[in-house]
């Protein structure tokens, strides 16, 4: 099993006191499979994604990726896992503003020690970014920025791709285009995909789907 | 000059202060000459005061002042720098358009300034007023002007008030006061525009006291007028809660008649802006008992003495029932 999440709990301190976002979530995902995570606003779906990505730690429970519990890792271990095994595409602010498009794309792969120029060239062409390589992120449109983010995520060939509403900030046509590219590239690399979305249509296109309500899988 | 104005302000305004340890003038004075031409260190304040109306060989009118003041911090004299006697010299030359003033300060005890009765010499620095058998010499200089004059008395000394005991207020403050108003004077004025030979007549005032003013008196207006008919009038009005005025009418031969408070009046007719102040420079002066009712006007309204203690002093012209010329001194206009 690529990913196994068991009895995850997460509570945040808020102005009104502690708020339990996740109250014992279980899910699994096999390599090459795709899973849609849906739920109302505030249902905890982004938090769950962050925990799986090793960006934050659960209060209780396990996140096991390829047989390793990332909750038991230290900061450096989780960072290493984020570099190589897992790729994350956020809704926005994905890119490093001080680097050019080409440097952004190569960044994670080089960090992970899996820099493959031919593969990156292929990715850039597939994503239609050849003309943008020397530009800086703030010179790109939203759709172009997300293409760069996808290229960067796919470049080290991660085992698991996490996406948090990756097209949420884009207009409808651009969103469809970007989504097509993401899905086909993930499929080509054979990675598992976990995507947070509120779009039922989109959720239907993935292999599986779970719905979060009040911190539990409904 | 560094000498604080306060010391000499005491010479005027401070004249009303208590006279601890100092001698006090008393009525029925007996003067002895030449001794009383000299200094009286037991008294706090004393002066040798010469004013002169002059005519130049250029036809212009001039006025001249030479004054030596003595003020004592203690009623004693002592040799050396510790002397409590302080001396101040004022000299001025007035022309119709200009007024030159200079001042000197010194202390007694070291020979820098003083007065010797016989042979008579009053001096401060190189300034002098000295008498020899032939004539008196009068010299002074500043950075802009100088004068060197000879004087000859042509009449007797005259004594003011009650034979030289001059009462200054209703409460009885008084000074010893006599004059020599009959000097003929001639000599040379050195002015920025050149030298002028001048002749005219001069008036010496001698006065000493320890507390000549009452505490409420703030200043005075003093007139010395020489009429064309040869008579002379000295009159002063002390300004206080009430004006206190005294006058002496002097005949051409030196006979005097003293007038009590109330007889002599002086009323301002016109004021001038002088050194940022308003000062009366035209007066109506009357002595009704003697049939005198004259207008007295300044030769130069700007005759301001910008010295440690500033005052107005300058030549005047007289018209009305009598005509003539004279000198006017006004203090306390600050």
């Amino acid at each position: 099993m690529l990913l196994r999440v068991e009895k995850i709990h997460k509570t945040f301190d808020t102005a009104d006191g502690p708020f339990a976002v996740l109250r014992g979530v279980d899910l699994t995902l096999a390599g090459g499979d795709s899973l849609a995570l849906t739920g109302e606003s505030g249902s905890g779906k982004s938090t769950l994604l962050h925990l799986i990505g090793g960006l934050d730690l659960p209060d209780a429970g396990q996140v096991v990726i390829d047989g390793v519990d990332i909750a038991a890792m230290d900061d450096a271990g989780r960072a290493s896992m984020r570099r190589g095994a897992v790729g994350v595409v956020f809704q926005q602010f994905n890119l490093i503003p001080s680097l050019t498009v080409s440097a952004n794309i190569a960044f994670q792969a080089r960090l992970a020690g899996r820099h493959d120029p031919d593969w990156i060239d292929a990715l850039t062409q597939r994503l239609g970014l050849t003309a943008q390589l020397n530009k800086y992120p703030e010179q790109l449109s939203g759709g172009q920025q997300q293409r760069v983010a996808i290229a960067r995520t796919i470049a080290p060939r991660p085992r698991l791709v996490l996406a948090d509403e990756p097209t949420g900030n884009l207009d409808e046509d651009t969103a469809a285009e970007v989504m097509e590219l993401l899905l086909s590239l993930v499929a080509e690399t054979g990675a598992g995909l976990l995507m947070v979305t509120h779009s039922m249509a989109l959720a239907d296109r993935l292999d599986h789907r779970v719905h979060l309500r009040a911190g539990r899988i409904a | 000059m560094l000498m604080p104005a306060a010391v000499w302000a005491q010479g005027f305004a401070g004249l009303g202060e208590a006279a601890e340890g100092f001698a006090i003038p008393s009525a029925d004075p007996v003067f002895e000459f030449p001794a009383d031409d000299g200094a009286h260190p037991d008294y706090r304040i004393e002066w040798w005061y010469i004013t002169a109306n002059l005519t130049g060989d250029d036809g212009l009118d001039y006025g001249l002042q030479w004054t030596l003041f003595r003020t004592a911090l203690a009623p004693a004299e002592q040799d050396g720098w510790s002397s409590p006697q302080l001396w101040m010299g004022h000299a001025a030359v007035t022309t119709p358009t200009a007024h030159y003033v200079t001042e000197r300060l010194a202390r007694g005890g070291i020979g820098q300034a003083g007065v010797i009765a016989e042979p008579f010499e009053a001096w401060i620095d190189e300034w002098e007023f000295s008498d020899s058998d032939e004539a008196a010499r009068l010299r002074a200089a500043g950075s802009e002007f100088a004068f060197d004059m000879t004087m000859k008395a042509d009449g007797p000394r005259v004594f003011h008030g009650d034979r030289g005991y001059s009462v200054k207020s209703a409460s009885g403050q008084a000074s010893y006061y006599f004059s020599q108003p009959f000097f003929d004077i001639e000599g040379m004025l050195q002015l920025p525009d050149g030298n002028v030979r001048v002749t005219g007549d001069a008036w010496l005032d001698r006065e000493w006291s320890s507390q000549p003013l009452a505490s409420d008196q703030t200043g005075w207006d003093w007139f010395s007028l020489s009429f064309d008919d040869g008579a002379k009038l000295m009159g002063f009005a002390l300004r206080g809660a009430q004006v206190y005025a005294q006058a002496t009418l002097i005949d051409p031969d030196g006979q005097t008649k003293a007038y009590p408070d109330g007889a002599f009046t002086a009323a301002p007719l016109d004021f001038s802006d002088v050194a940022g102040r308003s000062v009366p420079t035209k007066w109506r002066v009357t002595l009704a008992d003697a049939g005198i009712d004259v207008t007295v006007g300044a030769l130069n309204t700007q005759s301001w003495m910008e010295t440690s203690v500033p005052y107005w002093e300058g030549p005047v012209r007289v018209s009305g029932t009598h005509s003539g010329r004279g000198y006017l001194e006004m203090t306390g206009y600050e």
Binding site: L55, D75, L111, A112 | R107, G142, Q190
Partner: protein, 790 residues
């Protein structure tokens, strides 16, 4: 509406007290440095003024006896009676104070103002009152203290002092009133034994010590520049951070005018508060440093400066004005930007522009123009004003050019970097540059000032010490007061020592310049020790042939005299055979052969002797002179002790310089801290993606620290040539223009390394806290960047 609007604006500070603190603290520190330096300068100058007022030094001509003996009261009275307006002075050292007796009745107006006042004051003073008025640093029983009296001095009436010193009837000198009557007898006729010394215009001491004050003024100027950069940075950021609030307020209908007026008022209020705090801090700084400054000036120039600090309006007002003015300049620019901001401009603090924008180009152009101007001035400038314009152009040009140069360096480093993290590090550093530029400019100026002033002070020290070696060649110097004493000293010492070198001097005019003319005996001491800047082949031989003269650099430069030219001295034409360095002397000096001196000035007797003897015999000779000739110990000066004193003085100078060095660096460090803290909120969106794709927070924090230290090092490297240029301008342009002599420049690599170390430490300390904060940022904070609610 005004209240509601203001409440919204003020709320920003309430929620971000740290920003408020940094704004206030930055302003206050800048003001403190400025007003501290000003306070020291103002205090020293006031002390010289008091000295000039108390003793008439330099203001008035003086009459003294040619033979140096006191005159009598009688001479004074004779002069007065001959029409000379002179005033007597008697003076002596009593314990550690200088006791001066004057005559308040005749002293010229500017003299001894402390005696004026009410009649009671004067009555206490003269006529047996016996009052002594003393400077605050003089302790005399029963004396009245008055800060208007020169430091180290007490004043009393001449009667009091004559009695105290048991010198009845004696006067040391007469001060000549500038206004004299039109008729007076010639001096030669009244008192032929007196000679008149002409006033040198302005205070002697003030002119002497100007070179020291130049140091402090340069520091003051630079600290002001550093301060302005800090204030500008603080205010610019305060505005950027409130863009969101301002946009919302305007959208809700608050008029732009009102917003601008409110913010301007708020700024000025904050500036006033910070200014007052800063002046208070400056007072503490000055109070701590002043004793050292006073000791330095006393030892170096004999200038008495009271070690007690007075609250003088000149510097506390200037401190407040600097705070308000700096804020007005900086705030004006920010408000102008605000007034032109479109209503719906981004609510976020503007993403820092990618380097390469128009701003950088403009900076490059302005900086280029200024530096070119400086280069041209360096070749052409001659006057003090030109020197200071040169300094200004150089420093401002360099400061403005700093971001441009750093950007080029960083770009190069990025292009050469191999590792992915290294590449990102350089790229990210370059992106941070605009936000850190102001702080870095402040650091550049602070380091430049430190390097420049340290070089100047240290060069001065080296030059002065070797100059002392040259000038103090004799092992012992003996001062005498009377011709009889002089004869006794010569008779006693001649058989006991290697050589007795009498030193005569007189004052006169050479080529229209006031000159101290000295005599020199034909002796190897001079040939062996004196170094000439320019000279004929055998200057001493030429001198002793009787037709030669040696002149100092000041006279040569001032009167434009060169080797081989002739000058007229006391009616005799002499050929200039040498020009020598004469550091610290404000006036001209010249040396002629002893024999010639004696024939030209037969009345002048030597009052000083240099004595050559084996060093170890010095103590015996001193004891002998004291015992057998009756010379007071104070009349004999051991060469070694003068040198020790001079070195001690320099050590104190260094204490002051070092303290100011550390203070300026601390201020620059604070500027860096402030910029970093303010940037932190903008940094999160830039760092979060790097963190999300695999860098740890610890790595990020370490890189932040490294970045700041690296920038400080780069800035320091640029400050080195700039600081050396500054020192060169001070030594070779400003000093020559101001004092007529050029100081040779030396280099002090260890000193620079130490300063560089200080700068790195300051920058490191400043970056430490923001870096630690970054390393400890909770993941939730970083994740907020990506959340869709943002």
């Amino acid at each position: 509406m005004i209240r509601a609007t203001y409440a919204a604006l003020w709320g920003h500070w309430w929620r971000n007290p740290l920003q408020l603190f940094t704004l206030l603290a930055g302003l206050a520190l800048a003001t403190a440095l400025w007003s501290g330096v000003q306070a020291i300068n103002a205090e020293a100058r006031a002390s010289y003024d008091a000295a000039a007022a108390t003793l008439g030094e330099g203001q008035f001509d003086r009459l003294i006896r040619r033979d140096g003996l006191p005159m009598t009261d009688t001479t004074y009275v004779q002069l007065r009676r001959a029409g000379w307006l002179v005033s007597p002075v008697i003076e002596s050292r009593v314990a550690n104070a200088r006791l001066v007796g004057i005559d308040p009745l005749t002293a010229p107006g500017a003299l001894a103002p402390m005696v004026s006042g009410d009649i009671a004051g004067l009555q206490d003073f003269i006529a047996g009152g016996g009052r002594v008025v003393a400077a605050p640093d003089v302790v005399i029983d029963g004396a009245k203290t008055d800060p208007a009296v020169a430091a180290g001095t007490a004043i009393a009436d001449i009667a009091t002092v004559q009695a105290l010193l048991n010198r009845a009837g004696e006067i040391d000198l007469l001060i000549v009133d500038p206004e004299q009557p039109i008729n007076q007898m010639p001096l030669a006729q009244v008192a032929p034994e007196l000679s008149r010394q002409t006033a040198q215009g302005g205070s002697d001491i003030a002119r002497l010590t100007d070179s020291f004050h130049l140091n402090l003024t340069a520091f003051g100027l630079l600290s002001f520049a550093v301060g302005i950069f800090i204030v500008h940075g603080a205010i610019g950021l305060a505005f950027e951070q409130r863009r969101g609030t301002i946009r919302s307020l305007r959208a809700l209908g608050a008029p732009l005018r009102l917003l601008i007026i409110l913010m301007a008022t708020e700024l000025m209020t904050l500036a006033l508060v910070a200014g007052v705090i800063g002046v208070g801090l400056g007072y503490l700084v000055a109070g701590a440093l002043l004793p050292d400054v006073a000791a330095t000036l006393r030892g170096l120039y004999g200038a008495e400066v009271s070690g007690v600090l007075q609250l003088r309006p000149i510097w506390w007002v200037s401190g407040i004005v600097i705070a308000l003015g700096g804020t007005a300049i900086a705030g004006g620019a920010a408000l102008w930007k605000l007034s032109r901001m479109p209503l719906l401009a981004g609510a976020q603090p503007r993403a820092l522009a990618i380097a390469g924008g128009r701003t950088v180009k403009m900076l490059a152009v302005v900086s280029g123009v200024l530096l070119t101007t400086a280069a041209i001035l360096a070749m052409t400038a001659t006057g003090v004003i030109g020197g200071f314009i040169l300094l200004g152009a150089l420093l401002v040009g360099a400061a403005l050019g700093l971001p441009v140069v750093l950007r080029v360096i960083l770009q190069y480093a990025e292009s050469r970097s191999k590792g992915v993290v290294t590449g990102w590090f350089w790229a990210d550093t370059r992106q941070q540059l605009p936000g850190l530029s102001l702080a870095l400019m402040a650091l550049l100026l602070a380091m430049t000032a430190n390097i420049g002033v340290s070089t100047m002070v240290s060069s001065f020290r080296l030059t002065f010490v070797s100059f002392l070696d040259q000038r103090l060649a004799s092992e012992l110097y003996v001062n005498v007061e009377t011709p009889t004493q002089a004869e006794a000293v010569v008779a006693y010492t001649t058989p006991r020592v290697d050589a007795v070198l009498p030193l005569m001097s007189t004052k006169l005019q050479v080529a229209g310049w006031p000159v101290d003319l000295l005599s020199a005996r034909d002796h190897a001491t001079y040939r062996d020790n004196w170094q000439m800047l320019f000279a004929t082949q055998r200057p001493w031989d030429d001198l002793h042939e009787g037709a030669g003269i040696l002149i100092n650099e000041q006279l040569a430069r001032g009167a434009g005299i060169e080797i081989g030219e002739t000058v007229l001295v006391a009616g005799k034409d002499l050929s200039v055979v040498g020009i020598y360095g004469d550091y610290g002397n404000p006036i001209g000096q010249a040396i002629i052969a002893e024999t010639l001196f004696q024939s030209l000035f037969p009345d002048v007797v030597p009052t000083r002797f240099g004595i050559r003897l084996p060093v170890h015999d010095t103590a015996d000779l001193v004891a002998g002179l004291e015992r057998d000739v009756g010379l007071p110990e104070a009349a004999m000066i051991n060469q070694a002790s003068i040198k020790a004193l001079s070195l001690g003085v320099f050590d104190r100078t260094f204490t002051v310089t070092t303290a100011l060095n550390i203070l300026t660096l601390a201020v620059a460090g604070f500027a860096i801290l402030m910029s970093l803290l303010t940037l932190t909120s903008m940094r999160t969106p830039q760092l979060a993606p790097a963190w999300a794709i695999g860098l740890t927070r610890f790595q990020l924090g370490r890189l932040e620290l490294l970045r700041t230290v690296m920038l400080a090092l780069l800035t320091g490297a640029l400050a080195l040539p700039l600081g050396l240029t500054l020192a060169w301008v001070l030594l070779a342009v400003v000093n020559v223009a101001a004092f007529g002599w050029r100081l040779p420049m030396f280099f002090f690599p260890w000193e620079y390394a130490r300063l560089g170390g200080f700068a790195v430490i300051a920058a490191g300390l400043a970056a430490m806290w923001p870096a630690v904060r970054l390393a400890r940022t909770p993941p939730a904070e970083l994740l907020k960047v990506f959340s869709s609610e943002r």
